[in-house]
Every structure is written in structure tokens, then in C-alpha cells.
């Protein structure tokens, strides 16, 4: 085989992002196509699937195959690349009728929360209708072709990879618009006679021919780049250019003229296609009768969107996991495992070396547990409270302590928890808890004692609901989790008279935090204990998939055990504290802030403890109060809101939960992802200390030091912040769109949006600054 051709076949520049994007697109289409095919196999034939996948394959071949690699060396190969992007991929994608399969294939959350609102947006509808009008799409296509083939722009694209990407994106986008009126994919309807498509294509072929002829008949190479690069073939750059021109001319003309014949013959015959005619004649009902028709625009496109009434995913019905969770002793088993882990951590904290990265109490709680809690909240829900070891001993507290008193009425709010969370955030930094295994062990012991005493003296789960700072943190963050404990069939609860889920029965106690399932909304105060699941005689409670953050909007609905969120100043204060605390806590670990704190201590000649106290009092109290008062005052004045500043600050607190969650995730995720391996040498050291021999090897301390920060970790953190910002803006706008309360939603929302953007900028700054590698050993 020719060595050049052999090298060509082996040169695959796999681009991970492109491959992942194409794979996701194919998977979504395939999922939707399967579902639609069950209703209407005739319309959704295998040819549609093949066409769509063929279109994606053409994009893959153009951008992630040897064609991409050799395009810089040979103009003819570059031309093949452009032909794939302009003549092959777009018509094939449109022939796959991608709109409905893609919509149907998307997860419900994305479909209803993102895709359909975009498709229904007036701007999107009108812009798409305008851009796909033949009088607009034809000039766009021709302009894209001619502008990018001008020597100046072509050379620019060859020199600069960013411009090369822009060139390909322009070609693909312009061609998608160009081929839309030609293919007119279902369910769009033509707004013009099909006869008009014939001159549309013929004129496109004419301009293509002129450009091709210019390349073929030029007396010298037009693009300087191909004169400069080393020749890898036996023919000259001029011959290569002529070959490129021929490729553009002949296959290009075929691509334009073949549809002319097909459409011409069909239009002469007075039909569009067999299947379309059949539906028109028989007035057959829509293939998806149960699905509402969503009109995108009166003329351009009618979309049958899908909103199947299927039940959301239920974790309790998942294989293995669901069975374990439904098991009566499932939770106690989890709690026992966590209790053993906690005892080992405390033991090492009290007796092990007083060096954070060398002690289990310096590593497991501050690196692994916090990171895993955040990942658990991100992908599921409040799993830590489910496996909480602190509440396991309370089962025995009743034997020794006079249980049965009600929690004092004055303390039935989150204010005590707010104070405890603030105190914890301050003490964490002030006493460097992360670097003090001994103090960490004491805190854990105090936690066990507090849970034991409070739950021994007071009935229900008073510790969890009103005291536990960890629980409050998890309750707030789980408001954006994708799982929620709730009823499967609301109808079944209307007939229920016993209300076992909250009152309990002989098999299980009811909800300790007084959440009556049929009126429960969101994860606030839900410990995922699943007592309600055990108690419900109708087996009507599940751990169901929900739209993350959906329950942050309906603030005036009465929620069992909580009341109306829009009236809960204590819950709002807790949220604001955790939002500002997320940024303050992370900022306290980056180099500029640490240096500034040192300078402050030097200037004022005060201790580091006092500086930290000053920092946290400003970052958690003074600063937030000033910012919130300003935002609320502007919001009230500009939006002419007939509500107090306090009421506005309460309502919009819920909008900031996603952003606060994102910052906690970025921060704790960073420590976990950079330092997870420290558990290995610490466990080896502990085992060696306990057993007296290094049975699981000598501590591999290299895993606990000198760890680099990979790019993808920074990208992960930034992505978390991006999604958090967009989530906060979306929730905030929906809160402001409550027409019964605000007549000028945008103006009411504007100051809060600015605050969210400002916090996002601070978060990005924190992520991009070098962060202290806590929990790892220094290189020496």
C-alpha cells in the first residue's frame, strides 16, 4: 500500500467533545425514534433512523477522521470535508425528521424545562421562520460559500484553528438553513409552493458551478498556504486545486440537481409522498393521540410534543438498591456502617498523630465525607441523613432518659440552626478544624452526645429538625436534588383515613419531622429515613425523580410541617447564610484572601483568630445584610413592589439555592477530587498502628502529597458554577413572574439577577485562584 495512503488510514484525531456530542445526539434520537415507532412504524421507518445517523456520521467523518488531519495539506481533501458538512450531513439530518424524535428522546426534565420553552419562545419561532424562508436561506448559503472561499478568509481559517472552527460552524449552520425548505422535514409545513424549490436549487447549482470553475480554470494556485506546505502527493498544488474544483462541481451539482428531479416529479404528480398523502386522505388521527400538540408557529411548524403521563423514575423500584431501601433494616444497616466508621475516626482522632493529612480524623470527614455528601446531593438526594450515625443511638436514649417532652415552642424554627451553622463556619477556620484531628474527634463526640440528650428528652426528631447544622445544610442543598420522597399516586391519599405516614403504626414510626406526605413538597426537613415508606399501608410512597429546583418556585403553597416558604424568615436566613457561607468558606482558602488576612493581622497587630472573626462577621453578617438591603430596596423601588424589603429578601432567597449549592459542590468537589487518594496511606498507617504490623503495606505517603490540579477539575468547578448561575436566574425569574404579587417582574428581578451574576464572578475568581491543598502533606 502507498505509505501516504496507509498513514491517511491510520490518522484518526479523535476529538472527545465532538464524539461525546454526536453520541448523545444519536442516543437521544434513537430513544425518541424507538418510542415514536411504537405508535407509528410507517412514519418512523428505519430509513429515517439511517438518514439521521448517516448525517451524524458525515459530521464525524468531516471533523474527526483523517479528512480533518489531511485537510491542511491537500485542498482536495479540504474540499471533501466541506462537501460533507454542506452537501451530505444537513440533508441527511433533515431527512431523519429530527424534531420529534429528539424531543421525545430527551429526559422529561430537559424537554419540559429547557427544550419546549426554547421552541415556544417567540424569538426562536420567528427567527427560525425568517431564516428558513427561501429568500433568506439562499443568500445566507451563497454568502457563506463565497466569503469563506475568498483567499483572505480561507487563508485565515487555515492559519488559525479558531477561525477554522468558525468556518466549519458557518458552513454547517448555513447549510442546515439552506436544506430545510428543500427537505421540509415533518412536522413543518411549507409556506410556499413546492415549485419555488426548483429555481432555489438550480440557482444554488449555478453559483456552485461558477465557484468550481474558478478553482478548475485558474492558471495558478489560489491559496498560498497549499504552496507553502510540503507536498505529500505526486501531483502539483495546481492539480490538487483542479481536483478540488472538480469535486465541488460534479458531486455538488448532483447534490443540487437530484432533489430538483425528485421534487419536480412529485410535484408534477400532485403529491408529496405516499405517507403524507395517506394521512391527508384518511384524516387519520395524530399518531400520538395522547400527546398534546404544541404549536410552534402558525405557519412554519407544528410540533407534536410529548408529555406522557408516565410515573417518574422511582428509586425504590430499582433493582438491588430499591429492594435494600425497602427492607426494614436497610437504614439501620447503613447507620451501623457509618457508626463504625465514625468510631474509628474518633479513635484515630484521639490517639493518632496530630497531623491532619496523616490522621483519619483529618482526612475522612473533611475531604471524603464532605465531597461524597455533595456528590450524593447532586445525583440523588439527602443520603447522608439517611445513613446518619448520630441518630442511631437515640433509639436507646428512651430507655435512660425521660423522653416525651415537646420541643420548646420558642425554638421551633431554624434560628438556632442558623446560629450553629454560623458558629461552625467561623470555628472551622478559626481553629483550623481541618488540621486538628483531636478537635475533629471531639466535635464528633459532642455531636453524638447532643443527639443522644436532645432525642432522649424530646419526642420526635427534634435534633434533626431544629438543631443539627449538618442536617440543615443537607435540607437546603437537597432542594435542588433530583430525588424526592413523595407519594406515587395522589388519588390514593385522598381516600386514606389513617395517615400512617405521619402518625405511624405498629410496624413503623411516622415521620419524625411531621411531614404529611400528601401535602409534602420538596426535600426541606426530609431526612430520607423512609419511615413513611415503611408505615404507608398502601405502598404509595416512593423516592421519585423530580425536576431539580422545581419546588423552589411555589412559595405560597402550604407545605406540611413547614408552612409557606414565602413567609419563613428563618428558612430564608438559613439559605442566605449558606449561600454567602459557601463563597466565604471557599474564599478563605485562596492565596489572595489568605495574604490579605495576614496583612490585616500585621497592620492592626491582632491575632489570626481575631482576623478570622472579623472576616466571617463581615462575610456572613455585615456584608450580606448590606447587600440584601440594597438589592431589596432597589427591587422594591424600581419594580414598584407593594411588599416590604424583608419580604422580598425572603422570597428571592430561594432563587440563590442553586448558586450556593454550586459553590459548595465546586469547593468540596475540588478537595475530594484532588486529595481522595490520601485515604490510602492514612488507612495503612492506622492499620499498622492497630495491628502492630504493616499487613496492608507500608503507608504510601506519596499519595498524600504533591498532588497536581488537573484541568478537568477546574472545568468541573466552572461548569458547576455555570449551571448554578443559570438555575438561580431561572428560579429567580419565575419567582418574579408571579403576577399576583409583582406587576413589573423584570424590574423586580433585575437587582437579584445582578447579585447572582456578581456572586458567580466571585465564584469564578475563587476557582481560578490557587487554593490551599488542605488535607495533603507538604512536599518535604
Amino acid at each position: 500500500m502507498n505509505p501516504t495512503f496507509d498513514a491517511f488510514l491510520r490518522s484518526w484525531p479523535i476529538s472527545p467533545w465532538l464524539c461525546v456530542s454526536l453520541t448523545i445526539a444519536a442516543a437521544v434520537y434513537l430513544h425518541g425514534w424507538f418510542k415514536l415507532r411504537q405508535h407509528d412504524p410507517l412514519r418512523w421507518s428505519g430509513l429515517r433512523l439511517a438518514a439521521f445517523l448517516g448525517g451524524l456520521a458525515a459530521v464525524f467523518l468531516a471533523l474527526a477522521s483523517p479528512i480533518e488531519v489531511f485537510a491542511d495539506l491537500l485542498l482536495s481533501v479540504h474540499m471533501v470535508q466541506h462537501m460533507l458538512l454542506m452537501m451530505v450531513a444537513p440533508p441527511l439530518v433533515w431527512l431523519g425528521k429530527p424534531l420529534l424524535p429528539t424531543l421525545r428522546g430527551l429526559p422529561r426534565v430537559i424537554r419540559s424545562g429547557i427544550a419546549l420553552p426554547i421552541l415556544r419562545a417567540p424569538l426562536a419561532r420567528d427567527a427560525f421562520a425568517l431564516l428558513t424562508h427561501p429568500l433568506i436561506s439562499w443568500p445566507i448559503f451563497a454568502a457563506a460559500v463565497w466569503i469563506w472561499h475568498a483567499p483572505v478568509s480561507y487563508e485565515l481559517a487555515l492559519r488559525d484553528p479558531t477561525w477554522h472552527v468558525a468556518e466549519h460552524a458557518t458552513f454547517l449552520a448555513a447549510s442546515m438553513l439552506f436544506w430545510f425548505p428543500v427537505i421540509q422535514p415533518y412536522p413543518s409545513r411549507p409556506r410556499w409552493s413546492r415549485w419555488l424549490v426548483l429555481p432555489y436549487l438550480v440557482f444554488a447549482d449555478v453559483q456552485n458551478t461558477v465557484l468550481s470553475a474558478w478553482l478548475v480554470f485558474a492558471s495558478e494556485p489560489i491559496y498560498q498556504h497549499y504552496m507553502e506546505v510540503p507536498s505529500i502527493v505526486s501531483w502539483s498544488p495546481l492539480a490538487d486545486q483542479q481536483l478540488a474544483g472538480v469535486l465541488m462541481w460534479v458531486p455538488g451539482s448532483v447534490a443540487f440537481l437530484l432533489p430538483v428531479f425528485v421534487i419536480g416529479i412529485r410535484t408534477l404528480g400532485g403529491r408529496s409522498s405516499n405517507i403524507e398523502r395517506r394521512f391527508t386522505q384518511s384524516e387519520r388521527p395524530h399518531p400520538l393521540p395522547s400527546l398534546p400538540i404544541v404549536s410552534l408557529t402558525s405557519a412554519s411548524c407544528h410540533v407534536a410534543a410529548t408529555a406522557t403521563p408516565a410515573l417518574p423514575w422511582d428509586m425504590l423500584k430499582a433493582p438491588l438498591v430499591g429492594r435494600f431501601l425497602r427492607w426494614r433494616f436497610g437504614r439501620p444497616v447503613l447507620q451501623t456502617v457509618m457508626l463504625i466508621a465514625a468510631v474509628v475516626v474518633m479513635l484515630d482522632g484521639f490517639t493518632g498523630p496530630e497531623v491532619g493529612p496523616a490522621n483519619l480524623a483529618g482526612v475522612a470527614p473533611w475531604i471524603h465525607w464532605r465531597g461524597l455528601v455533595m456528590f450524593g446531593l447532586l445525583v440523588g438526594g439527602n443520603f447522608f441523613c439517611m445513613a446518619c450515625p448520630f441518630t442511631l443511638p437515640r433509639r436507646f436514649a428512651g430507655y435512660w432518659l425521660p423522653r416525651g417532652r415537646a420541643w420548646p415552642r420558642a425554638l421551633r424554627s431554624k434560628w438556632l440552626a442558623v446560629a450553629l451553622v454560623a458558629a461552625f463556619l467561623w470555628s472551622y477556620e478559626a481553629f483550623a478544624l481541618w488540621d486538628s484531628p483531636w478537635l475533629t474527634a471531639w466535635i464528633a463526640l459532642a455531636y453524638f452526645a447532643a443527639a443522644f440528650v436532645i432525642d432522649g428528652l424530646f419526642r420526635d426528631a427534634a435534633f434533626c429538625k431544629y438543631v443539627c447544622p449538618i442536617g440543615q445544610f443537607n435540607f437546603v442543598q437537597s432542594l435542588v436534588s433530583p430525588l424526592e420522597v413523595r407519594v406515587r399516586e395522589p388519588q390514593a391519599c385522598t381516600a386514606c383515613r389513617t395517615k400512617d405516614c405521619v402518625r405511624g403504626n405498629e410496624t413503623a414510626s411516622g415521620c419524625g419531622t411531621h411531614l404529611f406526605q400528601s401535602r409534602k413538597l420538596g426535600n426541606l426537613d426530609c431526612t430520607f429515613c423512609l419511615d413513611c415508606v415503611q408505615a404507608c399501608p398502601h405502598e404509595n410512597i416512593g423516592v421519585l425523580g423530580v425536576t431539580p429546583g422545581n419546588t423552589l418556585i411555589r412559595l405560597d403553597l402550604f407545605r406540611s410541617g413547614i408552612g409557606r416558604l414565602g413567609h419563613r424568615a428563618d428558612v430564608a436566613a438559613l439559605i442566605w447564610l449558606l449561600v454567602f457561607g459557601a463563597f466565604a468558606n471557599a474564599a478563605g482558602m485562596i492565596a489572595p484572601v489568605v495574604a490579605y488576612q495576614d496583612r490585616l493581622a500585621e497592620w492592626w497587630d491582632i491575632s489570626q483568630l481575631a482576623v478570622v472573626a472579623f472576616y466571617y462577621s463581615f462575610a456572613l453578617v455585615v456584608g450580606p445584610l448590606a447587600i440584601l438591603a440594597s438589592a431589596a430596596a432597589i427591587s422594591r423601588w424600581w419594580g414598584r413592589a407593594r411588599r416590604s424589603c424583608g419580604a422580598l429578601a425572603i422570597r428571592f432567597a430561594y432563587a440563590f439555592v442553586p448558586l450556593g449549592f454550586a459553590m459548595w459542590l465546586a469547593h468540596h468537589g475540588f478537595h475530594f477530587l484532588t486529595s481522595y487518594a490520601t485515604i490510602l496511606p492514612v488507612s495503612q498507617r492506622l492499620f499498622g498502628d492497630l495491628a502492630g504490623v504493616a499487613a496492608i503495606g507500608e503507608p504510601a505517603w506519596q499519595h498524600a502529597c504533591c498532588l497536581g490540579v488537573a484541568d478537568w477539575i477546574i472545568k468541573f468547578e466552572l461548569l458547576a458554577l455555570d449551571v448554578g448561575l443559570l438555575g438561580s436566574l431561572a428560579v429567580g425569574y419565575q419567582i418574579a413572574s408571579d403576577r399576583t404579587r409583582f406587576t413589573r417582574p423584570l424590574r423586580v428581578f433585575a437587582p437579584w439577577a445582578l447579585l447572582a451574576v456578581a456572586l458567580f464572578v466571585v465564584g469564578v475568581w475563587i476557582v481560578l485562584e490557587p487554593m490551599q491543598m488542605r488535607g495533603t502533606l507538604p512536599p518535604e
Binding site: V233, L719, D722
Partner: protein, 191 residues
């Protein structure tokens, strides 16, 4: 059940792909730095990225027979990079085909500091030896913000689009209201 099986297959494939794809990401040719011909060999040297900044730089070498233009696979290529200010920090790397996206070439990845560098490329094809020397300037490193900007700037796109959509909706509703008012006015003033 059928649907679930299919879903698992897709996820498994995606997972495997995510796991292995980054390892297959290879260097590209990049900008041409030098072309030399000696002892019947045509040697072309490319660097990537086109505008060099401190950090990892890809140096790719294409060795061809000067007469036939055929690339010569059975060739040893050594790349030596010497910082002009700190020549004691010179590094020598073997360029190999495995690191090149274009398998006609041989590539190596070099960590470079800011400043001028002398580059020496030595080629040995079955006794035929060639050498290319050139100098290149490496700019200051991109800051983290410059490096990661697409990752934190992209939310601006949906925010701007949503804002435009809201403004557009507002304008459209206003213009519809004006048209309706004119219709009502003309109807009431029509004798």
C-alpha cells in the same frame, strides 16, 4: 425491558468512550517552522499551537524522500530544545509517530518556558542524516482566566438570548396592542 436494555448499552458505550477517548487525543501538525533539504531528505518541522505560549508545545516533523515525496516511516527523529537564556536547561526528545495525529509525521511534546528557544532537529534514515535548526519565541503563559474563559463565559449566551427574547416579546405585544387600537379606532370612526 427492551428499552432499558438499549439504554444500558448506550450508557456503557458512552462510559467506555469517555474513559478511553482522552487517551487517544493526539497532537496535530500546526504551523510550519522550517523546511530543509539535505542528503536527499526533505524535512519539514511544524509546531502547535500556532502562537506559542509557555506550557506544552507539540513539535511535529515530516521526513520525505526529496525526489519521490514519499514519507519515510523508518526514520529516527531527535528534537533538542535549548532555551537561549538558560542553555543548561536543554532537553532532548525522541519524536515518535504514536504522538502525531497525522501519521505521516513524528511528534514530541515539550514543556517550554517563556523566551527564545533554539531548536535542533536531527533525522536519521538508514544512514542518510539531516539536520534542521531554527529559533522560536515562546510567549508568556496564558493566565488561568485566558485558558478557561469558554468554561465560564458560555452562560452569557443563553442569558443574552433569553434577554433578547423577553425584549422581543415585549416589543411584539406592544406593536400588537397598537394595531388593535388602530383597528378599534378606525371601526369607531368609520361612518
Amino acid at each position: 425491558m427492551h428499552c432499558c436494555n438499549y439504554r444500558w448499552q448506550v450508557f456503557a458505550w458512552l462510559g467506555l468512550h469517555l474513559l478511553f477517548a482522552p487517551r487517544l487525543t493526539l497532537a496535530d501538525g500546526g504551523a510550519i517552522r522550517a523546511i530543509e533539504k539535505s542528503e536527499g531528505l526533505a524535512i519539514s518541522v511544524f509546531t502547535s499551537p500556532a502562537i506559542l505560549t509557555a506550557g506544552e508545545v507539540d513539535i511535529s516533523v515530516l521526513v520525505q524522500d526529496d525526489q519521490s515525496q514519499q514519507s519515510l516511516a523508518d526514520t529516527q527523529v531527535q528534537v533538542t530544545v535549548i532555551p537561549r537564556e538558560h542553555s543548561y536547561l536543554a532537553e532532548r526528545h525522541a519524536a515518535v509517530e504514536e504522538l502525531a495525529a497525522n501519521r505521516l509525521m513524528k511528534s514530541c511534546h515539550v514543556q517550554l518556558q517563556q523566551g527564545w528557544h533554539e531548536v535542533e532537529v536531527l533525522v536519521d534514515n538508514k544512514g542518510r542524516r539531516g539536520r534542521v535548526d531554527f529559533a522560536m519565541f515562546v510567549g508568556p503563559p496564558l493566565g488561568r482566566a485566558a485558558h478557561f474563559w469558554p468554561w465560564f463565559a458560555w452562560p452569557a449566551v443563553p442569558i443574552i438570548l433569553v434577554t433578547i427574547n423577553l425584549a422581543y416579546r415585549h416589543l411584539r405585544s406592544n406593536s400588537l396592542a397598537i394595531i388593535n387600537r388602530r383597528i378599534v379606532d378606525s371601526a369607531t370612526h368609520d361612518p
